[in-house]
C-alpha cells in the first residue's frame, strides 16, 4: 500500500468504527537548507576498522502526556562502510499496530560521499501488513510494516531517517514506561534519549550495566530528562551469548509504582476471560473423573490444553490488544490461540475445579530486569498455588510432558497476576537430571567384525520434548532419518535395522526409542590388535556446536554462555567381544567435575564383555564469563582421552 504524502504540518488521525485509519505524512521533502553533515567525513574504516556500519547519531525524544499517550520522535543516521553494510542498512523497517500506535516517516535521505544529498522519494516508502513467514503462526493484518528503501546508496553513503511514533492507546492509563539500549552490535558515535514528561507523573529511572551522563531540566509543570553518550564500542558477539538486551547498557524508565501494580493491572485485564459456560463445564465433567486427586486433575487439564489447542495468532482485537487473552469460551470453541489465550483457558479450567490458579506473564528468552516495572514480557503461563508455594505450567509448548519446559527454568521472570498484586518472582534452577538422555546399549562384535546391537534411548525434560516434537510434526520417513542420524553421529557406517518409539501417543508416558542396528567391518585390525570405540563414541569427545560455532572455542569470554537449559547424558553399554580376542587396554578412566560441568568415563570388564559407563552434565543453564576458564580447563582435560580406544589382542 502506498499512501499519499500530504504536505501538512501535523499528523492527522481518523478514528472510526473501532479501528484507526492511518495517513502517513511527509513534511517538507525538499533538500533545500539541508547540508552535508561535516561529522560524516570523520567516519571511515581507519577509525572504525572491520565493521559494516557506524551509527553516527541516534536520538529519541519522547513527549509524554498525563494520560500516558506519547509522541516519540526518532532521528537516526548510519554510515555504511562495507558491501554487506549496504545490504544491512539499505532498508529500514518499522512496525506499528492500529490498536495502539501509528507511525509516520517525517524524513528520509541519503548522504553520498560525493556530497550529494538524496531525498527518499514517496514511492520508496511502503506500508503493508505484517508478513507471514513460513512455519510461523502469526497472521496479524492490523500490524503494519513501514519500510524505507534507500536509493543510490554506495559504500560510505549515510542513510538517515526521522520517524514519529504516536502512542494513542497506552498500555497503562496515566502511566509511562520505556526502555532502550545504549550499546549495539555496531559502533555508536552518539546516542541521545530525551523524555519530556509532566512532573506529577513522577518518573523513575535506572541505568544497568554502565553509566550514561544525565541531565534534568525543569520546565514549569514538566521535566525534561536527558541521557546522552558518545563513542560506544560495538558489542562483539560470541557464540551462545545471551541476547544483546541482556548484556548491553540499558536505560529503564517508568512511572509505575511497583511490580505489584503491574500484576494487579494484568489481573483486571485478564480476569473477565476466565469465565466459563455450560459447554466448558460439560467438557470438564467428561474429562475429570471424581476419583482423581487434584494432581491428576491438573495433569489431565494441562495435557488436554497442550494437545488440543493449537497455536496461532490472528487479528488483534479488543482493548489492551496483544495483552488481553481471548475468552476461555472462545478459545475452547476455536481450539486455537496464542500463549495468553491458552494460559487464560487453562486458568479458567483450573479455577472451575477449585484450583487456585493465576495467569502469569514472563519472558523465556530474555531477562526482565527487576529494578523498575517496565514491560519486557513476551509470553504468558499459569501459576498454581500449592502447599509449597507456586509452581508454573506452560500449556503453550506443544508436546511438553513437563508443566514447565526446561528453558523456562533457571531464573526466568514470573509476574503472577492477582487481585492484591504480586512481586516479581523468578523460576527455580533445574537439575540436569530433569533433562536427561539415558542411552542403554547392548552390542556384540562377531568374528566377522560385524557389530550388532540394540540401543534404548530414554528421555526426559527437554530431550523428551525435542524428540517428541520431531516425531509428531514430521512425516514417518523423517523419523527414521532422525533415529539413523542419531547413531550415525558417532558411526556413519551404522545401519538401523528396526526402531520403535514408545510413549509418543500420550503425554502421560515418557518417550523412549529402541533401535536395532548393525555396523559392518566395525573394528580396525591393526596387526595383533583390534581397536574400536564404543558404538556411541569414546568419552572425552565432547562436541558442542551451535549455530554461531562452539561456545567453548575461545580462550576467554567477555559474555556468559547462555545454554538456557541444564542437561545430562548417560551412556551405558555392555559390549561382547569375539571369543578369539581378549581385552588388552581400555581408555583411561576419568572423572572431571566442577560447578558447571562434569564428565565421567569408566570401563570395566566382565568375562568377555566390556561395560562402559560415561556421563556428561551441563549443570548450570548459564556459565558466567568469569567462570568460563574453569569450564574450558575441564573440557581440555577431557580432550586428551578422546583419541583413546578399546584395544583387544588376539588370544
Amino acid at each position: 500500500m502506498k499512501l499519499p504524502f500530504i504536505r501538512w504540518r501535523f499528523p492527522f488521525i481518523i478514528k472510526g468504527m473501532g479501528s484507526i485509519l492511518l495517513i502517513i505524512i511527509g513534511i517538507n521533502q525538499c533538500t533545500k537548507g539541508i547540508i552535508y553533515p561535516p561529522v560524516l567525513k570523520e567516519i571511515g574504516t581507519e577509525k572504525y576498522p572491520g565493521v559494516d556500519g557506524v551509527i553516527v547519531y541516534d536520538s529519541t525524544k519522547i513527549e509524554v502526556n498525563e494520560d500516558g499517550t506519547s509522541i516519540s520522535t526518532q532521528h537516526k543516521m548510519i554510515k555504511i562502510l562495507s558491501t554487506y553494510g549496504k545490504k544491512k542498512f539499505g532498508e529500514q523497517t518499522f512496525a506499528f499496530c492500529t490498536k495502539w500506535d501509528t507511525l509516520m516517516v517525517v524524513s528520509a535521505r541519503v548522504y553520498n560521499p560525493t556530497g550529494e544529498i538524496i531525498e527518499v522519494p514517496d514511492g520508496n516508502i511502503d506500508v503493508y501488513p505484517m508478513p507471514a513467514w513460513e512455519g510461523a503462526k502469526f497472521f496479524i493484518p492490523n500490524v503494519y510494516m513501514v519500510k524505507i528503501t534507500y536509493p543510490q546508496i554506495e559504500i560510505w553513503s549515510t542513510i538517515e531517517y526521522t520517524i514519529k511514533d504516536i502512542y494513542y492507546e497506552p498500555l497503562f492509563a496515566n502511566h509511562f514506561q520505556y526502555y532502550t539500549l545504549f550499546e549495539s552490535e555496531y559502533p555508536l558515535r552518539e546516542k541521545v534519549v530525551q523524555i519530556d514528561i509532566p512532573k506529577k507523573m513522577d518518573l523513575k529511572w535506572t541505568v544497568l550495566r554502565g553509566d550514561i551522563p544525565f541531565k534534568k531540566e525543569d520546565k514549569r509543570d514538566r521535566e525534561i530528562y536527558n541521557w546522552s553518550t558518545r563513542d560506544v564500542k560495538a558489542i562483539e558477539k560470541e557464540a551462545v551469548m545471551p541476547p544483546i538486551r541482556d548484556v548491553a547498557t540499558k536505560l529503564l524508565v517508568s512511572t509505575l509504582p511497583s511490580w505489584e501494580y503491574f500484576s494487579k493491572w494484568y489481573y483486571k485485564v485478564s480476569k473477565p476471560t476466565f469465565e466459563t459456560d455450560s459447554v466448558i463445564k460439560e467438557f470438564i465433567a467428561e474429562l475429570i473423573k471424581p476419583e482423581m486427586n487434584n494432581e491428576e486433575k491438573i495433569r489431565a487439564l494441562f495435557n488436554w490444553t497442550v494437545e488440543n489447542i493449537r497455536y496461532v495468532e490472528t487479528t488483534l482485537s479488543g482493548a489492551k490488544a496483544g495483552f488481553k487473552p481471548a475468552l476461555a469460551t472462545q478459545t475452547y470453541e476455536r481450539k486455537y490461540g496464542v500463549c495468553r489465550d491458552k494460559a487464560a483457558f487453562l486458568v479458567a479450567l483450573l479455577k472451575e475445579i477449585g484450583i487456585d490458579a493465576y495467569i502469569v506473564i514472563t519472558n523465556p528468552m530474555e531477562m526482565v530486569e527487576e529494578n523498575l516495572p517496565v514491560d519486557q514480557f513476551n509470553h504468558a503461563v499459569v501459576a498454581v498455588k500449592g502447599d509449597k508455594g507456586y509452581y508454573y505450567l506452560d500449556p503453550t509448548v506443544e508436546n511438553s510432558r513437563d508443566y514447565l519446559p526446561a528453558f523456562e527454568y533457571n531464573g526466568k521472570a514470573m509476574l503472577i497476576s492477582s487481585e492484591k498484586g504480586e512481586p516479581m518472582r523468578y523460576s527455580a534452577p533445574q537439575a540436569p537430571e530433569k533433562n536427561s538422555m539415558n542411552l542403554i546399549g547392548k552390542s556384540s562384535l562377531d568374528k566377522n567384525n560385524k557389530l550388532t546391537g540394540t540401543l534404548t534411548i530414554e528421555t526426559s525434560g527437554i530431550m523428551d520434548l525435542q524428540f517428541r516434537t520431531l516425531f509428531k510434526q514430521f512425516p514417518p520417513e523423517m523419523k527414521e532419518r532422525i533415529v539413523t542420524s542419531f547413531i550415525m553421529q558417532s558411526n556413519p557406517s551404522a545401519v538401523v535395522d528396526t526402531f520403535f518409539v514408545k510413549g509418543l501417543s500420550s503425554l502421560d508416558e515418557p518417550l523412549s526409542i529402541i533401535l536395532r542396528y548393525h555396523i559392518d567391518d566395525y573394528a580396525s585390525e591393526m596387526g595383533e590388535l583390534l581397536t574400536l570405540n564404543p558404538p556411541l563414541g569414546g568419552g572425552g569427545n565432547v562436541s558442542v556446536q551451535f549455530g554461531m560455532g562452539n561456545p567453548f572455542a575461545l580462550d576467554e569470554r567477555k559474555y556468559p554462555i547462555n545454554l538456557m537449559v541444564t542437561l545430562k547424558t548417560s551412556y551405558r553399554e555392555v559390549m561382547e567381544i569375539p571369543s578369539n580376542y581378549k581385552i588388552s587396554k581400555f581408555p583411561d578412566e576419568f572423572d572431571i567435575s566442577n560447578e558447571y560441568i562434569s564428565l565421567r568415563q569408566c570401563y570395566k570388564s566382565k568375562k568377555n564383555k566390556i561395560v562402559i559407563n560415561s556421563d556428561f552434565s551441563l549443570k548450570r543453564a548459564r556459565i558466567p564469563a568469569e567462570n568460563y576458564p574453569e569450564v574450558k580447563k575441564a573440557l581440555k582435560e577431557a580432550d586428551k582421552y578422546k583419541g583413546q580406544k578399546i584395544l583387544l589382542k588376539r588370544r
Binding site: 508478513p131 528503501t149 490472528t314 487479528t315 506443544e398 542420524s485 558411526n491 567453548f552 572455542a553 580432550d639
Partner: protein, 591 residues
C-alpha cells in the same frame, strides 16, 4: 498476473478431494476455483492445514471465499469467524515491497483436531487478461496422500490448446470446451534429502495455447526489451559485471512472483537496487552499450515450493519435445556471445564471481530478438573443497601443523553467503571455533582468511597439545576430517533405502583432503588405513595412504561427477564404508 496456491503436504492428513477449475473467458479473464477437503489425522496435519494460506495479487485479482468450515467427527459444523480470515503480506512483499504487492489470504480454521474434516472453497478472479498466451502446468500430488484430485480447464472454443496428457474427458458446453483430468489414490511425495524437483517425481500436466517455443520466446522478448535501455559504464566485461554485481543491491524476489515486465535499466542504475530480473536487464543494457552481444536467458527455478500459477507454465529435461510453457523457469541471467561460445553471467548471485553460476550444467533458454533456443550451460568444473594438512605428531600425542583450505564455486559461494554478516572480530572467533573441531585443546597460532570473488582461502596454524594420548606403548591417531565448509556426506546416507534419485545443487563437486603427517623416530607406524577405491556411476570415493620414513601421506577424496545419482546405485553402502571411522585411523607403537 499471478495467482498462487501453496500446496502444503505431509503425512498427518489425507486430502479427500482437491478440485481445481481454471476458466478463461472470451475476454481473456481467468478464474481459478478450488474446492479442497482434508481429513486431519494427527498433530502434523493440524499444523499443516489448520491455517491455509493462499497467495494472490490484490491489485490484479479478487479473492472470494465461497465456503470454509470444519466438520468435527460428531457432525458439527464450525465456520471461521471474521477475525480468523486475514490478508497478510507474503514474505516477498516484505523483502521487496517495491516489487510485490502479493498477499496471503489466511483462513484459520476452528476445531481442527484429529478426525476433523476441513472444507475450503475459494475463487480467485483476475481483473485483467494476462499479457502472455495461455500456458500453464499442474502437478498431481504433493506431500499428503490424495484420494481424488481433479483438474479442469474451461476455455473458449476458439482457443487452440495442446496438452502433454490427454484429458480424461472433453466436452463442449455452449461456446466453451471443458477438459477434465482426474486422478485417484495418489501416494504422497516423501521427504528425502537431495531429492529431485517435484515435477520429476509426480505427474505434471502441461497445457499451452502457444504454437511453439519460438513464438513464446518472441512474446517474452517483447516484454523484457522494454527495460533494456541505452546506458554506459565502462568498456570491459568484467568491469561492467562487477559494477552491476557489487554496486546494485539485490532485492531477492523471483520474476515468478512479480511478473516479467522489468523496470527501465536507467532507473535501476540510478537507484542502485533491483531484483534479479532487473539487474540482468541493466547488465544487458550496459554490455550492449559497450558493444557486446548480450541477451536474456531464462533458467530453471531454484529450490523452494512450487505453486500452480496462472497462466505461467514449466520445463522438463527433453524440453524441446514438450509444449512451450514457463512455470519452471524461476530465474533470468545474462548470456554474452563470445568468440568461443556463450558466457553466462548472473549479477544477482552474490559471491559467485563471473565464472560460476548456480545454473551450471543446466538447460537454459536463450531469448533473442528474432530467435530463441535451448542451450546447455557447461558444468562448472571447480566446485571444490581442497584441503592440505601439514601435520606433525609427537610421541606423546600432541599435534601441530597447518591447515590450508580452499573453497571454490558452489562451496565458496555458500561460505561467503554465510560469513558476510560477520565482522572481523566475529570471523576471528569463527576460526577459533573451526579449530575446536580438530581438538578442544587446540590453540591457533596464526590465521589467514582471504575472500575473493572466486574463492575462499583459509589457513590455520595450530597446536593441539592433547590431540590424543598413549595407551601403554600404543598411540592411536585419528586424523580429523574437514573442519571447514559443508560437503554433503553423511546427510545423504541417513536413509536405509533411497526412493528417489539424488539430485545435487551442483553438476559435480570434489572434496579433497591431502595430509602429510610427520612423526618422530621414537614411534613406529604399525598400521595404516586401507586403500579404498569405490566408484559407480556418478561418484568416486578414494582413500590412499603411502608411507616414507617418518612421514605419512594420506589422501581422502570424494567426487560427485554428476548432478544426479540413481537411487538403485550402491551409493549408500559405499558411502557408509567410506565414512567408517577406521578409514582415518593410524596405529603407532613406541619403539
Amino acid at each position: 498476473m499471478l495467482i498462487g496456491l501453496l500446496l502444503i503436504a505431509s503425512s498427518g492428513a489425507t486430502i479427500l478431494s482437491d478440485s481445481i477449475t481454471l476458466s478463461i473467458s472470451h475476454s481473456g479473464l481467468g478464474t481459478l476455483d478450488r474446492k479442497l477437503e482434508v481429513l486431519i489425522e494427527s498433530q502434523q496435519g493440524r499444523e499443516e492445514f489448520g491455517d491455509i494460506e493462499i497467495r494472490y495479487d490484490k491489485e490484479q485479482s479478487e479473492f472470494k471465499i465461497i465456503e470454509a468450515y470444519t466438520e468435527t467427527e460428531d457432525g458439527n459444523i464450525y465456520k471461521p469467524e471474521k477475525k480468523a480470515i486475514s490478508d497478510v503480506s507474503t514474505p516477498e512483499s516484505h523483502l521487496a515491497p517495491m516489487y510485490s504487492k502479493n498477499l496471503l489470504k489466511v483462513v484459520s480454521f476452528p476445531q481442527v483436531v484429529e478426525g476433523s474434516k476441513l472444507y475450503y472453497h475459494y475463487r480467485i478472479i483476475s481483473k485483467e487478461p494476462s499479457p502472455l498466451p495461455l500456458l500453464g502446468s499442474h502437478i498431481f500430488g504433493g506431500k499428503f496422500p490424495i484420494k481424488k484430485e481433479i483438474f479442469i480447464l474451461k476455455l473458449p472454443d476458439t482457443v487452440d490448446i495442446s496438452f502433454n496428457i490427454k484429458p480424461d474427458e472433453s466436452k463442449k458446453k455452449e461456446d466453451f470446451i471443458i477438459h477434465r483430468w482426474e486422478r485417484k489414490d495418489i501416494e504422497r511425495i516423501k521427504d528425502s534429502p537431495y531429492k529431485p524437483p517435484k515435477y520429476e517425481i509426480a505427474e505434471e500436466l502441461v497445457f499451452s495455447s502457444n504454437p511453439s517455443w519460438e513464438e513464446l520466446g518472441k512474446r517474452i522478448y517483447s516484454i523484457l526489451k522494454d527495460g533494456i535501455q541505452s546506458c554506459k559504464r565502462g568498456e570491459e566485461l568484467e568491469e561492467i559485471y562487477s559494477f552491476v554485481c557489487d554496486s546494485i543491491r539485490t532485492i531477492p524476489v523471483s520474476f515468478q512472483l512479480i511478473g516479467l515486465k522489468p523496470q527501465p535499466a536507467n532507473e535501476i542504475k540510478k537507484n542502485r537496487y533491483g531484483c534479479p530480473r532487473d539487474k540482468n536487464i541493466l547488465l544487458i543494457s550496459l554490455l550492449r552499450g559497450a558493444g557486446f552481444d548480450a541477451f536474456p536467458v531464462l533458467v530453471q527455478k531454484k529450490w523452494g515450493k512450487s505453486w500452480v500459477s496462472m497462466p505461467l507454465g514449466g520445463f522438463l529435461s527433453n524440453v524441446e519435445e514438450q509444449l512451450p510453457y514457463l512455470s519452471r523457469f524461476g530465474g533470468i541471467i545474462t548470456g554474452v556471445q563470445m568468440d568461443d561460445g556463450i558466457r553466462f553471467l548472473d549479477p544477482s548471485c552474490e559471491h559467485c564471481g563471473s565464472s560460476y553460476t548456480p545454473y551450471e550444467g543446466k538447460r537454459a533458454w536463450i531469448i533473442k530478438k528474432d530467435t530463441s533456443y535451448f542451450y546447455q550451460i557447461l558444468p562448472f568444473k571447480k566446485n571444490r573443497i581442497e584441503i592440505k594438512n601439514e601435520l606433525s605428531l609427537s610421541e606423546e600425542g600432541s599435534l601441530e601443523g597447518k591447515i590450508n583450505c580452499i573453497l571454490t564455486g558452489y562451496f565458496s559461494r555458500n561460505f561467503q553467503n554465510w560469513i558476510e554478516s560477520k565482522n572481523e572480530a566475529e570471523k576471528e572467533k569463527y576460526l577459533k571455533s573451526v579449530i575446536s573441531r580438530v581438538s578442544m585443546s587446540a590453540k591457533l597460532d596464526t590465521t589467514i582468511m582471504e575472500i575473493s570473488k572466486d574463492e575462499v582461502r583459509i589457513v590455520l596454524e595450530f597446536r593441539a597439545p592433547r590431540y590424543t594420548s598413549r595407551q601403554d606403548k600404543y598411540l592411536i591417531f585419528e586424523l580429523f576430517r574437514n573442519p571447514v565448509g559443508f560437503f554433503p556426506l553423511s546427510v545423504v546416507i541417513s536413509e536405509k533405502e533411497r526412493i528417489y534419485p539424488y539430485y545435487f545443487r551442483f553438476s559435480n563437486a570434489i572434496l579433497k583432503e591431502e595430509s602429510t603427517i610427520l612423526y618422530p623416530g621414537s614411534l613406529q607406524l604399525s598400521h595404516l588405513p586401507e586403500t579404498m577405491n569405490l566408484s559407480n556411476e556418478g561418484y568416486k570415493l578414494t582413500i590412499t595412504t603411502t608411507r616414507e620414513k617418518g612421514k605419512i601421506k594420506y589422501l581422502r577424496e570424494v567426487s560427485y561427477q554428476k548432478r544426479r545419482i540413481s537411487e538403485t546405485s550402491r551409493f549408500i553402502p559405499d558411502m557408509k564404508k567410506f565414512l567408517n571411522e577406521k578409514t582415518n585411523r593410524f596405529l603407532f607403537e613406541r619403539k
